[in-house]
């Protein structure tokens, strides 16, 4: 009989404890799997949101990403557009505002976009903004929840008023809704109305062009985004340019520390917990089966086969639990992600738990090592068992 078959028999013989051990490992394993998903989830999700915008460099006024206007942004956009390796640019201004459709009205985030080939949002219905001559009618793209909240869809119109300082006595402007879009970085409770920079200027009641707070740059295929970042730095030392990779890195350093720390701490704890408990179960189980193991040795089963049997027992318990942990962890991750996404102001498209193949591989590796380590002491105990003395003690006892 092979060590695996012996281990399988022992596991079946002590079915209740085996099932409980597998359940315990599965629950703890699910937590470990989730912590592995959490360890990079926000970063991966944030990176995907940035990539989905279609631009790989952004210019802001200061270090960090506070909404501060970039001085002389229109001139900077024109200068950047002429740089080698730049495929497209879009200047973005964000202001607080009010929107009204009939009797429905409420606070919205107004986004102004300069002339560009593409927008940093994804159109899900209707059409995108079209660059038109200054003074032309206002066209607007709204977020997915706007139509149900304001009872206005593509083809309808909305009254928009910019409120940068909190209140305004200016009359609102009328905009025609041309499309519904997915604004990756909008929060779930936030209603968004995007328009051209010219229309935003009218909504704000300003005579001079609104200063953009972000200038997005899409580099041409084959161009080095870092070279463009350096060129922008030389052109305007008073502003900051970041590639998407740098933005993700900054997010990793500043905004993500808490979840990285908690994931490291909990991953370590759950692994230690699983090791201790499986090792304890196996050790107690071996102590209970000393007579049985001595009998197996007495009938000629070699030490290494007894040790192998115990390693297989550990592998069956830990392996079964680790495999069950994957679907259980996935379900748990959905619940925990939903819970964490209740944080106010969080972008709709940002997730804390994101599946990566790397997480699955690490999960299985950690449990493989845990299974081997858990079986080491019981196997050593069983291998050095004095056969005759144990049998005599068991029989007399």
């Amino acid at each position: 009989m092979t060590p695996l078959a012996l281990a399988w028999r022992a596991t079946r013989q002590y079915r209740a404890r085996a099932v409980l051990a597998v359940v315990g490992v599965a629950v703890i394993g699910a937590l470990l799997f989730d912590m592995l998903l959490l360890s990079r989830g926000l970063l991966v999700s944030f990176g995907r949101l940035l990539s989905a915008e279609g631009f790989d460099i952004r210019i802001v006024a200061t270090q960090g990403f506070a909404r501060i206007g970039i001085p002389e942004s229109a001139a900077l956009v024109e200068a950047v557009r002429r740089m080698p390796g730049v495929a497209d640019t879009a200047a973005i201004a964000v202001e607080a505002g009010d929107a009204g459709v009939g009797a429905a009205h409420g606070h919205v985030t107004l986004i102004g976009r300069s002339r560009a080939s593409a927008s940093p949002w994804r159109i899900v219905r209707g059409a995108d903004l079209v660059d038109s001559a200054p003074g032309a009618g206002c066209e607007a793209v709204v977020d997915g929840r706007f139509p149900s909240q304001f009872h206005a869809d593509v083809g309808g119109s909305v009254r928009v008023l910019g409120l940068p300082g909190g209140a305004s006595a200016l009359p609102p402007i009328d905009c025609r809704i041309v499309g519904v879009a997915d604004f990756g970085f909008s929060a779930s409770g936030e209603r968004t109305v995007a328009m051209t920079m010219d229309a935003l200027q009218r909504a704000l009641g300003t005579t001079h062009g609104a200063d953009a707070q972000v200038i997005l740059i899409a580099s041409a295929a084959g161009a080095d985004p870092n070279a463009i970042v350096r060129a922008v730095g030389r052109l305007r030392p008073d502003v900051r340019a970041y590639s998407n990779a740098e933005v993700v890195e900054q997010f990793n350093r500043n905004g993500f520390a808490y979840f990285r720390q908690i994931s490291t701490v909990l991953s370590t704890l759950t692994t230690v917990f699983a090791f201790l408990l499986v090792a304890t179960l196996l050790t107690v189980s071996v102590n209970q089966r000393l007579g049985e193991i001595a009998a197996l040795r007495a009938v000629g089963i070699a030490r290494h086969r007894i040790a192998a049997m115990l390693f297989w027992e550990s592998a069956l318990l830990v392996g079964g639990g680790a495999l069950a942990a994957v679907p259980l962890g996935a379900a748990l991750a959905v619940g925990l992600d939903r819970l964490l996404r209740q944080m106010p102001g969080l972008p709709d498209g940002l997730h804390f738990f994101v599946f990566e193949r790397r997480a699955l591989v690490v999960h299985l590796l950690v449990f493989g090592v845990t299974a081997a380590a858990s079986a080491a002491y019981p196997a050593w105990l069983a291998a050095r068992l004095p056969i005759a003395e144990t049998l005599r003690r068991e029989v007399v006892g």
Partner: protein
């Protein structure tokens, strides 16, 4: 000319206005109280003014910004306005970002905010308690509770498995006790007491471990992020909650594991 010269002399001899700097800034720039520093509002060093360091302060720990380096200086408002206001905009020197108000009776907060908002509609008035940072920590608290529940479920399964092994070990002892007339209720009570004791000792060990590691964990993170923020605090309420959760679980696991032995025929316990 004499008056002008006198004014210039007085101006030159007048001490620089005082500022406070954060401990982190003092350490990084090797500054100490009494040093003169030049602050600029432009990255290239334009628009400068000279100040004298009159004190070094520990920034109030802010959980929302614990990863940020607190390189800060605090100026008197007129000094900041003189340094940073846009000269081309006369209104800029009259504008400030925020006014903090402490009420004599904190219970009036919402009424005061409503009154002020209606009488000065151009400002936004919000009670400090309404700031949404508290929502973030409420969510994180719920997240921690959810993780604790998962951990407790996993631990319960293991506890049950261990109690099952332990009950199996004592099968013959239980058989003898039943044969000499000890009632099932007494046996069950003894198992429940034993389970409860194990759970309480386990919980106490956990609390002791948490207390022992509390200082080390706080020290690690406070050094890592150069902050006075307290990351872990084992309170009496948390300790009580741990024991209150652990005790019934121990009792339940003990009873469940022994139940199979107690409801069996007594001879079968001796494999007869």
């Amino acid at each position: 000319m004499v008056v002008l010269a006198a004014c210039l002399t007085v101006a030159m001899l007048a001490p620089s206005p005082g500022i406070l700097i954060s401990r982190q800034l003092a350490a990084r720039a090797h500054l100490q109280v009494g040093d003169e520093v030049t602050l600029a509002t432009e990255p290239q060093g334009g628009r400068t003014a000279t100040f004298r360091v009159t004190g070094v302060y520990e920034p109030t720990p802010d959980p929302m910004r614990f990863t940020a380096e607190r390189i800060e200086a605090r100026l008197h408002l007129p000094d900041l306005v003189a340094l940073a206001a846009d000269g081309s905009d006369p209104g800029d020197a009259e504008s400030i970002g925020r006014i903090n108000v402490a009420l004599t009776d904190p219970a009036d907060t919402h009424a005061f905010a409503a009154d002020l908002a209606s009488s000065v509609p151009t400002v936004v008035v919000r009670p400090a308690s309404d700031f949404r940072e508290s929502d973030v920590f409420a969510v994180i608290d719920r997240f921690h509770v959810a993780i604790s529940i998962v951990t407790v479920v996993g631990a319960t399964a293991f506890l049950l498995a261990l109690m099952l092994i332990r009950a199996e070990e004592r099968r013959e002892t239980v058989g003898v006790m039943r044969l000499i007339g000890i009632s099932q209720r007494s046996l069950l009570s003894s198992v429940a007491i034993e389970g409860c004791a194990i759970a309480i000792v386990g919980a106490a060990f956990g609390i002791a471990l948490a207390l022992a590691s509390e200082r080390a964990i706080n020290h690690y993170f406070q050094t890592r992020y150069d902050t006075a923020l307290v990351f872990i605090r084992v309170t009496a309420a948390i300790a009580v909650r741990a024991v209150v959760v652990a005790a019934p679980l121990g009792v339940g696991a003990g009873i469940a594991a022994s139940w199979t032995l107690l409801r069996r025929n007594v001879l079968s316990l001796f494999r007869r």
